[in-house]
């Protein structure tokens, strides 16, 4: 039996090659994801080990506040350092600070990152602690006029020791002389962040940390172990602070990165799963066709006494072998993909230190297992069907597969699946499912399966409709193409179903993006009274000095300039995000509908909360909210106003006076500027530009520009989704190529006949081309139907998140159908060429 299996494989190796390609791509995606995220993890782990070199014990505030720039902790009083220095076994204890510092390049523009922080830090003076920062040239900074910069920034901007550079802070910008260039071990920067290093006193001054430290680094005396010292220090500093060893510190940092890469890993694996899911349709289809073509051979084996079980084992062994070979190839492909991505990261300047590519045993096992299991699962149905062949079929003249029975069982199964999937989807979107995302994903998968099961029922009528233009205008090849597409509905349907999945997801994200844009534009117009919106170099990620708003407010023709700061506080022990604003200016720039109280009252101090928060906690104006802040700790604030959601206020508004007391960093993330009525736009814009000229990196946009930019950002994310989904679509088209190629093989004699009675090669290619187009467009139409439904439900469920409008980008969606047809044309090239090359005589003569 084994020999038969192997022979069968070899005989069909070409037909299986394309199937294998579907697995190779899917498994490659899986393996590549693991290798990439493992490599990033390993790289960071090494980087953090380097950065904590020489550090025996780290002391910091215990309580942390999550924020968009990483965890924030309450700064510690400088006196704590002295107390630690007196702990027996401490050789040195040195305080350190870090904060916002953005360098300005020679071109006068702020040096930006791809979203990584722009860090200012104090450089330690203790020799042991200095090891973390490796001097590449020049000297460490000393005195208020000196700065060291990271190697990557130095190379990019052409900074060298002796140069004068400008650096932006929370307060006014300042000029420094570059004293040296630094790296971190063999890394040129800290994972994409730019770094400006100062001596401690200067850093405390410019980073708004006067008299406080963010962390205290401790070096142990000879013979004192880090753990011992940690415990002693811990006892000395008291319960508000915590001490951890350098090793723990590095591990903790690595773990934080691990959480981040874990999210990337999960997201990429989700797309890999989609690719494999689509690939499994290709496998089902290919095995169905190949086994149908081999039904006589299988029947002959049955005649010779092979049991059904033996046939089944043989067929599954064949599938398993294909899966294994393809998985091994996929593993290789994945490693190559990961290497490619890593060099892409390098080219983008993320500056990861060179670390060996991480190929873990887990990666190998998962990749191989996934590939083999998916192939096996997908081949079970075709195998069951094929091995049901009666022995007598060997002597009967039934070489061609018959059309699928479209029985009630298919209708029932498909309907149950589709309905169940929709139910899961709705439960995940609107219900109270434990893991909403997983429920939605499972629902989508089940819906796809249901539609795939039902699709053979509609494949024939839909092909008839979609093929009509070809039959009408493309002559006999068009008519024959339509007939061929209608010929075996199950085959046409499962080929189209693979494309359906990809297109459903693509159209869904397209609809979501369009709805998001429309909702955002609507919200902006309704809510923002200000004409101008200012943001930092990476909008919403990096802030800018509040000095900007202060100065703009003083310019003529400006009615109000309102900065928005973001901070994290604790409510019942959980992190919440608030916005710090000047209530008076903010109220002029942003329209807020209050249900009780007013923002003007907020100027007295207190907090304004959103309606739903008030309702949830049963709060009304005059009640107090038990807030706890990074600086100053617990400080219950009276509720001054309750407002309706307007997508800009967030859940909590804190007046600036309170914000300044409770947060170390005072940076505006956004600012809204409203001109005085009657001021010509050119004048108000000029006034703002005058101020901003002194703060490189601050971006000014009017409402139209802002809308356009937000739309662009949405489009960028959309493109990312397109790229990630592209593989699923590519695999679907491989499926179309495969099906057509197999059909050509199956129809050799028919093709010979057509050629003999006068069909030209061109007409033959046209026939296959139009069949491909009909199948592709069928898949696209099914996909669009499912995608529009998904998009509609998802957008509906995001009403609370501010996606209030549902937009059908009809033009784009139709373009997708057209594109699917166009790619259908392309996928018909190879099968068409193969058919056209068939020797007429041999085609007629072949049995």
């Amino acid at each position: 039996m084994w020999r038969v299996t192997l022979k069968g494989l070899l005989a069909h190796k070409l037909r299986l090659a394309l199937t294998a390609l579907a697995i190779v791509l899917g498994v490659g995606f899986v393996a590549g994801t693991y290798v990439l995220t493992d490599t990033i993890d390993a790289t960071f782990s090494r980087l953090f080990t380097q950065v904590s070199k020489g550090l025996d014990v780290e002391v910091r505030s215990k309580e942390k506040f999550g924020g968009n720039q990483g965890d924030q902790r309450r700064p510690m009083p400088a006196a704590l350092r002295d107390r630690i220095a007196r702990v027996p076994g401490v050789r040195a204890a040195e305080g350190g600070v870090s904060g916002y510092a953005q360098m300005v390049g020679r071109d006068g523009k702020a040096v930006t990152t791809g979203g990584a922080p722009t860090l200012g830090i104090s450089i330690a003076t203790t020799p042991e602690l200095r090891q973390a920062v490796t001097l590449r040239s020049g000297a460490y900074p000393s005195g208020p006029g000196q700065v060291v910069v990271d190697k990557r920034t130095a190379s990019k901007e052409g900074f060298k020791p002796g140069d004068r550079i400008r650096v932006l802070f929370q307060g006014p910008p300042r000029e420094f002389t570059v004293s040296g260039v630094v790296g971190f071990g063999d890394a040129d920067n800290l994972a994409g962040a730019t770094l400006a290093g100062f001596d401690l006193a200067t850093a405390q001054d410019v980073l708004a940390r006067k008299g406080v430290f963010d962390g205290i680094d401790v070096v142990a005396a000879d013979g004192v172990g880090p753990e011992t010292l940690r415990d002693r220090v811990s006892a000395a500093v008291g319960p508000s602070y915590e001490a951890l060893t350098g090793e723990q510190y590095a591990e903790e940092n690595a773990k934080a990165i691990g959480q981040f890469t874990g999210i990337i890993n999960t997201a990429l694996l989700a797309f890999a799963f989609i690719a494999l899911f689509v690939g499994s349709f290709i496998i089902v289809n290919t095995f169905s066709i190949i086994l149908a073509q081999r039904s006589r051979e299988l029947a002959l084996l049955r005649c010779m006494g092979a049991s059904r079980r033996q046939l089944m084992a043989s067929v599954l062994a064949e599938a398993g072998l294909v899966g294994l070979v393809a998985s091994v190839a996929g593993l290789g492909a994945g490693i190559l993909i990961a290497l490619g991505l890593q060099s892409a990261f390098d080219a983008l300047g993320l500056g990861l230190p060179s670390t060996l590519v991480q190929i873990r045993t887990r990666t190998v096992v998962v990749a191989l297992l996934v590939g083999v299991v998916v192939t096996l699962l997908a081949s079970v149905m075709p195998a069951l069907r094929a091995t049901r062949v009666p022995p007598v079929a060997a002597v009967q003249d039934a070489a061609l597969p018959v059309a699928a029975g479209t029985g009630w069982r298919r209708v029932a199964a498909g309907t149950v699946l589709a309905a169940g999937g929709v139910a899961l989807l709705l439960l995940g979107l609107f219900g109270d499912a434990g893991n909403a995302l997983a429920t939605v994903a499972a629902g989508a998968v089940v819906v796809f399966l249901g539609v795939a099961v039902l699709s053979p029922l509609v494949a024939r009528p839909l092909s008839r409709v979609l093929g009509w233009p070809f039959a009408r205008w493309a002559g006999e090849p068009g008519r024959l193409a339509r007939r061929n597409a209608m010929r075996i509905p199950r085959r046409t349907a499962s080929t189209a179903a693979a494309l359906m999945i990809g297109l459903a997801l693509v159209s869904m994200v397209t609809i979501m993006a369009a709805s998001l844009k429309a909702s955002f534009t609507g919200t902006l117009e309704r809510t923002v009274a200000a004409e101008y919106i200012l943001s930092g170099p990476a909008a919403g990620q990096t802030g800018f000095s509040p000095e900007v708003v202060r100065r703009i407010a003083r310019e003529p023709g400006i009615e109000a300039a309102a900065g928005v700061r973001s901070g994290t506080f604790k409510l019942d022990g959980r992190d919440r995000t608030l916005q710090g604003v000047d209530p008076v200016a903010y109220d002029r720039a942003i329209r807020t509908e209050t249900t009780s109280g007013s923002l003007a009252d907020l100027a007295r101090g207190g907090v304004a909360i959103r309606e739903d928060v008030a309702k949830e906690r049963g709060l009304k104006v005059g009640d107090t909210l038990p807030m706890a802040f990074p600086v100053g700790g617990s400080d219950p604030r009276p509720v001054r106003a309750i407002y309706e959601d307007n997508e800009f206020n967030g859940s909590y508004l804190l007046p600036l006076a309170d914000f300044q007391r409770h947060y170390a960093d005072q940076l505006d993330l956004f600012a809204f500027v409203k001109a005085e009525p009657g001021t010509p736009p050119a004048a108000s814009r000029a006034a703002i530009d005058r101020v901003v000229a002194g703060f490189p990196g601050v971006q000014v946009r009017d409402q139209a520009e802002f809308k356009r930019e937000q739309a662009q950002q949405i489009d960028q994310i959309l493109v990312l989704f397109y790229v990630l989904l592209a593989l699923a679509v590519v695999i679907a088209f491989i499926g179309i190529i495969n099906t057509l190629a197999l059909s050509v093989l199956e129809r050799v004699r028919e093709i010979g006949l057509l050629r003999a009675v006068g069909m030209t090669r061109g007409q033959l290619r046209a026939m296959i081309r139009w069949e491909a187009v009909i199948i592709s467009v069928l898949g696209a139409v099914l996909g669009l139907a499912v995608g529009v439904f998904f998009g509609w439900t998802v957008v509906g469920s995001l009403d609370d998140e501010g996606i209030t409008e549902f937009v059908l980008p009809v033009g784009t969606l139709l373009a997708m159908v057209a594109a699917a047809g166009a790619v259908g044309v392309v996928s018909a090239i190879l099968p068409g060429r193969r058919a056209a090359r068939l020797d007429v005589l041999r085609a007629i003569a072949s049995e």
Binding site: L400, G475, E476, R479, L480, R483, N484, M486, R487, R749, E750, L753, L754, R755, A756, V757, G758, M759, T760, R761, G762, Q763, V840, L841, I844
Partner: protein, 267 residues
């Protein structure tokens, strides 16, 4: 008899090269007069099918000239050859003559449809009527009997009024009664429509329907028989080769029909 619908001038067909070369046709020259029914006979491997394929433009000769009417085939590219097949040649094969997705009517009209033209209504109805297919036109090939399928194939071959129809063992898969029926139809299309037909067969009974029989052996025409009858053909085959030929046995159940001499009426 007038001009020739097709002729071969010194055609040879060699498969392979060097020591393994096989000469399937060896300097064959033959003409196929218009409006006549020619049977090509010979043992397996004699080159009779090769001759047909070369004459029909399905295969290319190694040397020599093939003429269909006044067109010489060796100079034609694939496209011209295809158009020639479409417009001037009709085909009937032993099996698998029909496109399974098309109805009988669509199969009959297939070459014209491929050419993008419509059949002349009266002519189509006459051919279809003649072949007794009027009631079967809406059926798919799988719903037709073997004899009906072959009749559809012959009707298709005739519909474009080709210069010549080539039939390759058209009765090879039929029982003797259906064979006789089909051959009768073919005979009538020669007699009534003046169609030129060349038929390869190994069945002496089938050859008996023809006006003339050509005998091939080892790639050469070794004998030509005017107004063949089944018995004379069988006798000749026995003389040609002492051993029992595969063509001998299948139609033994129909001793009488082979003796017909319908071909005379056309002469």
């Amino acid at each position: 008899m007038g001009e020739e619908a097709a002729r071969a001038v010194g055609i040879s067909k060699v498969y392979g090269s060097g020591d393994t070369a096989v000469r399937a046709l060896d300097e064959v020259s033959v003409g196929f007069p218009s409006g006549r029914f020619t049977a090509v006979m010979g043992p397996s491997g004699s080159g009779k099918s090769t001759l047909l394929h070369c004459m029909a433009g399905l295969d290319r000769v190694t040397s020599g000239e093939v003429w269909i009417g006044d067109t010489e085939l060796s100079g034609l590219n694939d496209r011209r050859l295809t158009l020639l097949r479409r417009e001037r040649i009709g085909f009937v094969f032993q099996a698998f003559n029909l496109v399974p997705t098309l109805t009988a009517a669509e199969n009959v009209e297939l070459p014209l449809a491929i050419a993008g033209t419509r059949p002349e209504r009266g002519w189509r109805d006459r051919v279809v009527g003649e072949f007794g297919l009027a009631k079967r036109l809406g059926h798919r090939p799988t719903e037709l009997s073997g004899g009906e399928q072959q009749r559809v194939a012959v009707a298709r071959a005739l519909l474009s009024r080709p210069t010549i129809v080539f039939a390759d063992e058209p009765t090879g898969n039929l029982d003797s009664r259906t064979s006789a029926e089909l051959l009768g139809f073919m005979r009538r299309s020669v007699d009534e429509f003046g169609q030129t037909i060349v038929m390869v067969t190994h069945d002496p009974t089938a050859a008996g329907y023809a006006d003339r029989a050509l005998f091939l052996a080892d790639g050469r025409i070794v004998h030509e028989m005017a107004d063949p009858t089944a018995d004379r053909v069988l006798d000749h085959l026995k003389r040609l080769d002492g051993e029992d030929l595969d063509g001998g046995e299948p139609d033994s159940g129909e001793p009488d029909s082979g003796g017909r001499d319908d071909g005379e009426s056309e002469g």
